[in-house]
């Protein structure tokens, strides 16, 4: 009896450890290689061997300067800030209008948003490209900003769900005091939506930081590299220099790891809410 339980527990932990090794091993190899000198990396040694010098940060310096990571970081931050503000405003305004007002075409508006969730944006890119060009923003940072802001329907749902839990009595009280709808939205609804805003910012922030396709398609200029496209460009010039590519890769993953460790609780909740919707 106890022997069987012990065996079951052993197998359970064995499977967990094996799976963890499978997850960590590819990342570990890249981390170790980022610390090697170029002679070490090309010598064809075991990729999991310890680097000669654990504090060899030279590759990171090369990756950061030659890979123009500073500019990429700036471009990504620029896009992030405007796209996040846009997403929060658009999502919360939609939720406010739909949840707090009665109007004739409400069902139609909701249906328009609902049907849009079903359209995978990757398929319509052929035609979206035209819209972006017609607006004259192709090849600028405003192309991704507009696209991230304009196509986030998940945010609308997160706001809508949260809006329902804010008592309408608060709006009524403010209205009796003479507040207009804009004051109610700006002073009462938006501040109370803070937890939903945090969720949207995290979900959307991770998605924008990681997105490759939109900046690749709309900002081919090297000056407009984002984190993803700047890293992608390592492929050419450093094709054989895995120690530099690895350093660039580690530089990109590190902020994600820090954010994950600090905001774990919000991330699990937010990302699963985003995926299910």
């Amino acid at each position: 009896m106890t022997a069987r339980h012990a065996l079951a527990a052993f197998l359970k932990y064995l499977s967990l450890v094996l799976a963890s090794v499978a997850v960590v091993l590819p990342l570990l190899a890249v981390l170790l290689t980022s610390l090697r000198t170029s002679e070490e990396a090309t010598a064809g040694r075991n990729p999991l061997a310890a680097p000669a010098d654990w504090f060899n940060l030279g590759n990171f310096a090369i990756a950061f300067t030659d890979g123009q990571m500073a500019r990429a970081l700036w471009n990504t931050t620029f896009i992030l800030v405007f796209a996040l503000i846009g997403t929060v405003l658009i999502g919360s305004m939609t939720a406010y209008a739909v949840d707090r007002f009665h109007f004739r075409a409400k069902k139609l508006v909701m249906a328009l948003f609902l049907v849009a969730t079903l359209v995978p944006s990757v398929t319509t890119q052929v035609a979206t490209y035209e819209v972006i060009s017609a607006l004259g923003v192709n090849g600028t940072r405003w192309a991704p900003i507009l696209l991230y802001t304009g196509t986030d329907i998940v945010a609308v749902y997160i706001f809508l769900q949260f809006m329902r839990s804010i008592p309408v009595a608060l709006d009524e009280a403010a209205r009796i005091d003479g507040a207009g709808s804009l004051t109610i939205y700006w002073r009462i609804v938006l501040p109370l939506l803070r937890p939903a805003i945090v969720t949207v910012v995290i979900v959307k922030g991770v998605a924008i930081y990681n997105d490759f396709y939109i900046p690749f398609l709309y900002m081919p200029s090297e000056k407009l590299g984002t984190i993803s496209t700047a890293l992608f460009r390592f492929k050419g010039p450093y094709g054989a220099h895995w120690e530099v590519i690895s350093a660039g890769t580690v530089l990109v993953i590190l902020p994600t790891l820090v954010v994950f460790l600090v905001l774990q609780r919000f991330i699990y909740g937010g990302l699963t809410a985003g995926a299910v919707k």
Binding site: S15, L16, A19, S20, V23, V24, L25, P26, A29, G44, N46, P47, L48, I90, M93, A97, V98, F101, F103, V109, L112, F113, A116, V119, P120, V122, T123, T124, Q125, V126, A127, T128, V131, L135, T149, G150, T151, I153, V156, Y209, F212, Y213, L217, S228, L231, K235, W242, I245, S246, T249, V252, I253, T256, L257, F260, Y268, L271, T272, V276, K277
Partner: protein, 286 residues
């Protein structure tokens, strides 16, 4: 009263403009393009009827790209199974639960290009995978260079990336099962397998089916990982890579639009199937 009727529209004006400009206009113009021979550049385009669709379905490459998505579909099913197993294991009083959950979930957050590089290095000849497998006496192989193997390798990367998301979704669903159900089952002498089979699976069935459906539409629209890692070379071209190449490399916007319309219709069909097969009630909280 009449004065207030326009108020909601003031708030909806910008959101609706965005929605129309970036979702509905592209969908409509894509459908229109799919019946023309437009090259994406010139001013004039000619109406060619269903020619693009005929062309699309008679291309031998078409079956090739659908065959490729079968690898990702198989990967997604494996991933669902793995996630289900580990979610169950982690929900039965396991030590270091948070740590394991964190390790499994983290890949989902990583930048796609970074993942591409991590695995280009991992699969290199004489790289991490070959070295590790050599310990068990497995011969080195061309994980990305062998046309018969490349899609399995790439689908494996996809499993690595997304299994953690499924795991966290399942774990959340399992935790919302009332604990007294297990207690009652234990009193009745049910073992772990029976608890899994008769309590856990029925309770999280909707979320499992959701994951399976997401797997189908996901397998059809795979793009990032193969595009970054192989560029679609060597037998690894997917439907979306093919569409993008038709539109932006070969300037066949008409044909690419037809391909995109076909994909859109398939995805809508699959989603509709899911909504009809699985009752709506549960999606509320997870």
């Amino acid at each position: 009263m009449t004065q207030r009727a326009h108020v909601p529209w003031l708030y909806l004006l910008v959101p609706l403009a965005f929605l129309v400009a970036f979702t509905y206009v592209p969908v409509v113009s894509m459908v229109v393009h799919s019946f023309t021979d437009w090259d994406g550049l010139s001013r004039d385009r000619e109406f060619v009827g269903a020619e693009n669709y005929v062309d699309l379905f008679t291309r031998p490459q078409l079956f090739q790209v659908f065959a490729v998505s079968l690898f990702y579909l198989a990967g997604a099913l494996l991933q669902t199974g793995l996630a289900l197993y580990f979610a169950t294991v982690l929900s039965f009083g396991t030590r270091l639960r948070g740590l394991f959950k964190g390790i499994f979930f983290f890949p989902y957050l990583i930048n796609g290009v970074a993942i591409g590089f991590v695995f280009l290095y991992f699969f290199q000849p004489g790289g991490t995978l070959d070295t590790t497998l050599a310990v068990f006496g497995v011969q080195p192989r061309l994980w990305l260079g062998d046309p018969d193997l490349v899609n399995t390798s790439l689908a494996g990367v996809s499993v690595w990336r997304y299994a953690g998301l499924n795991l966290v979704l399942f774990l959340g669903a399992i935790q919302s099962i009332p604990p007294h159900l297990y207690e009652a089952a234990t009193l009745d002498g049910a073992n772990r397998w029976q608890q899994f089979r008769h309590i856990i699976v029925p309770s999280i069935k909707p979320i499992i089916s959701l994951c399976v459906i997401l797997a189908v539409s996901g397998a059809l629209s795979v793009f990032e990982i193969p595009f970054i890692m192989t560029g679609g070379a060597n037998n690894s071209e997917t439907f979306v890579i093919q569409t993008i190449k038709l539109a932006f490399t070969f300037n066949k916007v008409g044909l690419a639009s037809a391909a995109a319309v076909v994909l859109l219709v398939i995805v809508l069909l699959v989603t509709w199937l899911q909504r009809t097969l699985v009752p709506e009630e549960r999606v509320e909280q997870s």
